[in-house]
Subunit: 559 residues, 2 copies
Amino acid sequence: MAEVKSDIEIARGASKKPIMEVGEKLGIPGESLLPYGHDKAKVSADFIKSLQGKPDGKLILVTAINPTPAGEGKTTTTVGLGDGLNRIGKKAVICIREASLGPCFGVKGGAAGGGYAQVVPMEDMNLHFTGDFHAITSAHNLLSAMIDNHIYWGNELGIDLRRVAWRRVMDMNDRALREIVCSLGGVANGFPREAGFDITVASEVMAILCLATDLQDLERRLGDIIIGYRRDKTPVFCRDIKADGAMAVLLKDAMQPNLVQTLENNPAFVHGGPFANIAHGCNSVVATTTALKLGDYVVTEAGFGADLGAEKFFDIKCRKAGLKPAAAVIVATVRAMKMNGGVKKEDLGAENVEAVEKGCANLGRHVQNVKKFGVPVVVAINHFISDTDAEIQAVKDYVETLGTEAVLCRHWAEGSKGIEDLAHKVVALAESGKSQFAPLYADDMSLFEKIETVAKNIYHASEVIADKSVRDQLKQWEDQGYGNLPVCMAKTQYSFSTDPNLRGAPTGHTVPVREVRLSAGAGFIVVITGAIMTMPGLPRTPSSEHIRLNPQGYIEGLF
Amino acid sequence: MAEVKSDIEIARGASKKPIMEVGEKLGIPGESLLPYGHDKAKVSADFIKSLQGKPDGKLILVTAINPTPAGEGKTTTTVGLGDGLNRIGKKAVICIREASLGPCFGVKGGAAGGGYAQVVPMEDMNLHFTGDFHAITSAHNLLSAMIDNHIYWGNELGIDLRRVAWRRVMDMNDRALREIVCSLGGVANGFPREAGFDITVASEVMAILCLATDLQDLERRLGDIIIGYRRDKTPVFCRDIKADGAMAVLLKDAMQPNLVQTLENNPAFVHGGPFANIAHGCNSVVATTTALKLGDYVVTEAGFGADLGAEKFFDIKCRKAGLKPAAAVIVATVRAMKMNGGVKKEDLGAENVEAVEKGCANLGRHVQNVKKFGVPVVVAINHFISDTDAEIQAVKDYVETLGTEAVLCRHWAEGSKGIEDLAHKVVALAESGKSQFAPLYADDMSLFEKIETVAKNIYHASEVIADKSVRDQLKQWEDQGYGNLPVCMAKTQYSFSTDPNLRGAPTGHTVPVREVRLSAGAGFIVVITGAIMTMPGLPRTPSSEHIRLNPQGYIEGLF
């Protein structure tokens, strides 16, 4: 067998085009592209404004089965499909999320695809990129500083020190900052209180940036953030602290989508990266709507499996931004089917058709779920070299029983050439006019009913349980005018249930709601059904110990 | 009188050239300039390496009298002189520091010059610029996270939790973070301990970036950082934590100097910005040495007055980087002379020749001090419209008694046209071959003697006093091999003495050393002689309350 190159070797061997040429392909004039080096650029807000009124391309969502340690390759397939569509003559644009810096120093860098379906420059995307996340960190922490400063100078707004809801953020895995006491050291440093840090991607500012339609909308949403409560429990807003204007200024550049390219020099927008649990887990609305004006096809993805990612993409992002997806691709692998069928990771190398058949239940559930949103579906089998013909056929046969097609894709090994079939199938689906997209629930449904609707229809749970305090809180928000917001479910990504070990397609389980949080600026109610970590820690031997520049100036250990 | 335009109006009216053209002027090929937008670029490390062996231009330091509320215009004069030298046909490059983000939200943005002597784009330079400070923040905090992570996983190095010397940083004025207790909340979050945040410009990483000659030197210096001590008081290094490699990776781009332009389209490097008290207060060595290879003249400045700024520029930066300044300009204003002569700020409008004459003592001291380094001096009188002819003449006459010339400069109002005389004078001085630069003290002098040498020769103090604990600490560092380091004095910038209210040219005072700190990576001993604030706070009504985007998309309130 030929030597298999690593992702980073392939990425470094890429013959990148100047980003201005990539932009030209999409009709973006040079002066409207703000370069960051020669291979990254931001698309100017003025140019984006000038696109209003142009017709939209077709939006394709790439989603997946529940993740397993075997890997599915959702981003790889998103990138591959974009290349594949370009290969068959369609003007296609890819839209994916930016990577968070912190976790890169923990386990490994979050690659932007893999094999011959990657977005470059990979190193930059895993480090500072164009500085968007740093801008979000600054904007978030400016508000934090202004809150404590307000309290320090007399607390005119009457903020209850015990009820400050706005924490600080850092784009770093630093467990020591999860819970702190701040303002120690005497009179000059303020009033001591409990506080803490989340990782930047968990910031509501990140979710807001990803949902805002333009700078005005951004500033309005920032103003809507609830930073804490008074002793009478009335909310205090970011607007009251007068931080919204300066925060918008800090985010001015970050609001402009980043253009990079695939290994095959096709355009990709990489912009925004909200958590897929306490936020909605999709790239920015601005990037997606801009791409739709510039391309005939836009291929995008959503975080985690379809139960979380696709549901939030449809019910939050598409609902809020008025997007109408034309088709969805659900990525599966034979290996993941086997794991869902009970095979251990170390046994994945051996053929096991029975386990594949058994594990397909998870895939089937996702296929049927996505169809509930009125969006036509195709399954992409992301090929691994260990897959046998019989195993692949088993997946195809199973998917056919659902009235859907499964297409084998070899983009990882072959680039766009290996994903032509899927590209043709996606075009056929998107052009069929079959999509009748609608969110799962109406805006005016009660908040608790919204949670039940998702739990029953998507998770196939039998019931949702919540303490009176949670139900009372939801009621209170409804009374305050937040009842029309969608719900943003924070649940384990490994199962349809709230038990991460429950693979396959469980039914009859209970969804316990532990806590609810109002993200008034982003515009959703976060519903927490388990332990959600908003500040990760580093492992015993963090990858940062091995990251360095080698004598050739290349980065080692990041990937 | 004609309407006087504000700095920001002038800056916005600038006809900027594409940064590639500005780079071309210096002979930097397009592929060696990494653009950040169309008006900022980084000069690639490879290109910088290719300059080795080229002859150096002449280095001109712009320094100043002790700052007063009247303002001196040191940066304005640095920029003006750069333009002036270009105007008279010299190839001149300006080297100044980057602005810190945090303070911009407190009182006002740190402008890069003023009037018709400015560097643009001003807004960007006061916000994220090219992300250098964010990279420094990330690198610093990665080390912090790795320290607490090391302790969490068993503390193999035996770090004493009470002696962790490495704090965290944020580019924000946030007094609530000065003193905290971190790692609260139980087993999963680590071992609670006292900790705190400094502002990013106070980070030793900033000082290191500004003194490192290349990426290899950077990584070595990062490894040398002392992060804390064991119970037996032996030091633990960054290298022991294995963070140096990943920190260098995070700083890879930040090490490359930023090129921007003046209002007159002349090249300016804006790179690095260490504190001028607990660090050395100069722009990066890499920017200065690169500029010296590209220009016939390099005009640079140092923080605060010459007692702190020029002394550290000479004794730390020039000593370490092997730079030989050819001439120095000391900026003074009639207004500042008057304040030094006892006039209150509200009375500055009225002519007062006597006060000017009296205040000149401060200027005179600085002139004589700078000469002690063997560098020829010229005084620049930065003209204000309220200055009278008699007052200006008084300054000129006084300076002449010192065997030095004072030149009136109108660059603020007239740009390069108003500073031709100074440019000619600087060229004459630099070409005279008079400079016999040498640092004030030898490397092998004891640390305490070094402090005494600065205090007696520059501050004209009669003695330095320090507790036994301070003297013992200095001795210990000498025993450990740090005795050859220069001292970095942290003293009030408002006086030659340690009393900020003691203007003029005091003698016979005492310099009490409160504390000494070893910056082993940066390579100096910080000597603290008063209260040094490393994390500022916000005022009662921070300027951030008024900063916003106006409907035209311009930033309001930042300047």
